[in-house]
């Protein structure tokens, strides 16, 4: 792909991501307003919003990771254009069908649609079919893009080289950058979880069309659902980190990171760890084999070791005494890493089985996953978008605008998340359209969340407006 086309394609991806993100925030904000009793939402509409919000958020930030990797990969390899265009078309089409399933057909089985709820929270009869078609379109687009990217990497490197094992053996050539290594590892994980999603969808389709002749096993379906959902949520964060490894040293004015033995070991370990950590989602299913429950806690607690000792340690050492000139991109990267660590701490505490006994399905869960998504992964992708805008736009972002955007995102984000953490500490359940008399503390916490989420939303409106204003002309140049 030539450079101009690559820039235009990436710009289109990023504008789409930012616009869809704003829409998904509106969905989430409306849900919190309903819980705060500031607006009157009927239950079906609340759960329609919840289903749409969750899937759009996961989808849009996965796609942002794709955009970053696709753009920077052209520094090393010639990546085919068609797979990116195909994935883009599938993403847009998938979103349209998904929103048709939820808003038109009133399908409301939540973003992780635990079997057999999709057959019993259907809205209109066609709801589940539309929903599964939407997931199929998204899955096919992303799977094709992932397979093409892996094949492209393997045209230049062998599998052993792409995994960096030759560096472990002391060989320096061919030099595989951390960006290639982490992208490869992450996309392998993505392919694994998308294949699990294929199996899950096929099982749903078979049951749907068998008219009762075939039924699925709920425990198997739950394992497949969380293997897919947990893994893709983590891999999209790792895709953001691959881009960070490529860009952050340059922002600090330091030499590029290299695939040293500990970087290679850490990311190979991460490839395995992330595939088996999902067991912690099933702690409260006592029918799950005991060994898997313990494996869930042990693997989840081992997961941060490579991340903290390699990635986070390296970011801190790179920045220390660097005489850094801060930009919006570098601020978002640095503090995105900080919030990623804080969200990880919240997740680890929940991943202790004894704690999960009183935290599972309370607001502690959205608290920690929103921390490393809203203030972690989203910050990583916004950092890439800011860096990209500075690369292609004729004018730079104004320093005053940087301060306003960054302050609104951090203050709004932290206050919004604190309401969730307090909700977890006070036993307030998640995924409810209203708080009954037992858990009525949730109402005032929802009001607090609405106030702070509005600040975050305002920050994102300013960010998006500034990004589009500076860059949109490049689409037509």
């Amino acid at each position: 792909m030539d450079i101009t086309t690559n820039k235009k394609t990436t710009l289109l991806w990023l504008i789409t991501v930012l616009v869809v993100f704003l829409v998904a925030i509106i969905f989430g904000l409306t849900m919190r307003m309903g819980q705060a009793e500031l607006v009157n939402l009927n239950p079906v509409n609340f759960y329609v919003l919840m289903t749409s919000h969750g899937l759009l958020m996961i989808g849009v930030w996965y796609v942002a990771g794709m955009a970053g990797i696709q753009y920077l990969m052209s520094r090393y390899l010639t990546v085919p254009r068609w797979s990116s265009v195909f994935a883009y078309v599938c993403t847009i089409l998938g979103i349209v069908v998904l929103l048709t399933a939820t808003f038109f057909a009133k399908f409301h089985a939540s973003w992780y649609f635990l079997y057999p709820l999709p057959f019993l929270a259907t809205g209109m009869e066609i709801g589940p079919l539309l929903f599964f078609i939407a997931l199929t379109i998204l899955g096919v687009g992303w799977l094709v893009w992932s397979v093409v990217l892996v094949a492209t990497i393997l045209k230049k490197y062998t599998i052993v080289q792409a995994l960096g094992w030759h560096h472990l053996a002391g060989k320096t050539e061919p030099a595989v950058s951390p960006f290639i290594l982490i992208s490869f590892v992450s996309i392998i994980g993505v392919i694994c979880c998308l294949l699990a999603a294929v199996v899950l969808l096929v099982l749903y389709y078979i049951e749907m069309f068998s008219k009762g002749a075939f039924t699925n096993d709920p425990l198997l379906m739950k394992n497949l659902t969380f293997f897919f959902g947990h893994t893709i949520a983590n891999e999209m964060l790792y895709m953001g980190l691959a881009v960070l490894y490529e860009l952050f040293p340059g922002m600090v004015g330091k030499p590029a990171y290299k695939s040293t033995w500990y970087v290679v070991l850490a990311w190979n370990a991460t490839l395995l760890i992330v595939l088996f950590a999902y067991f912690h989602h099933l702690y409260m299913d006592f029918a799950q084999p005991l060994a898997l429950q313990y494996a869930g806690q042990i693997i989840t607690w081992l997961a941060p070791l490579p991340s903290v000792c390699v990635t986070i340690f390296s970011v801190l050492v790179t920045l220390y005494g660097s005489k850094m000139k801060w930009s919006l991109a570098s601020l978002l990267y640095f503090f995105g890493v900080m919030f990623w660590v804080i969200g990880g701490m919240g997740a680890l505490l929940d991943a202790v089985i004894a704690n999960n006994f009183v935290l599972h399905n309370t607001q502690w869960v959205p608290a920690h996953f929103h921390t490393y998504n809203l203030l972690g992964n989203v910050f990583f992708s916004l950092a890439f978008a800011s860096w990209f805008a500075d690369e292609i736009a004729p004018e730079k972002i104004k320093p005053g605008t940087v301060k306003i955007i960054f302050s609104l995102l951090v203050i709004g984000g932290v206050g919004f998340l604190l309401a969730f953490y307090l909700g977890g500490a006070l036993s307030v359940p998640r995924k409810v359209n209203m708080y009954n008399e037992v858990v009525s503390k949730g109402i005032s916490l929802a009001q607090m969340a609405v106030a702070f989420a509005s600040l975050y939303f305002l920050g994102m409106i300013i960010y998006t407006f500034d990004f589009i204003k500076r860059c949109v002309g490049q689409l037509f140049s």
Binding site: Y47, L114, F313, V438
Partner: protein, 183 residues
Amino acid sequence: MTTQKEVFLVFMVMSLIIICVFFLVFISANKSGAVENVNRKRAIFFFISLGTVILIMGVTLPKSPYFLYAKSEPEEKVFVVAKQFAFAISKFPIKTEDDFNMSAGVEITVPVDKIIEFSVSSLDVNHGFSLYKEGVLQAQVQVMPGYMNRLRWKFEESGTYDILCLEYCGVAHSGMMAKIKVE
């Protein structure tokens, strides 16, 4: 202090430590300097972290709810069946729709300070069976169709406990609740 509040306190302390470390490095970025012996420090950090993880596993894994009163015989058995959007709770097995309809909404009484075994299952979708006392979550287990999950629990205080569904199960999920009396 409840376990939830202890976890919150630990989380806040750890978050403050993380924020302090990042802000110190953030401030250091205004001047020039370098970290020496990086890999030695990295190795020390790794082994301290690994030791901490092993210690936490050793302390917390035996406290998992799967072992609660495992060596004792339950003094009372309670059967719970969930169905959109109600719980049926009985001291007798609930095998049919009629059994469910007879027990749904009935408030049973169980003894305080005795081991109770709850056998929970579902007639339709996944639900959550959770025990609340004065708005504080005490214990929970998932309720899955086709499977029987068993939770052993000892109520240490008498009074009325609320039972809430904690797994999203459809449009009336937030109103799916029941009560159990302990005396």
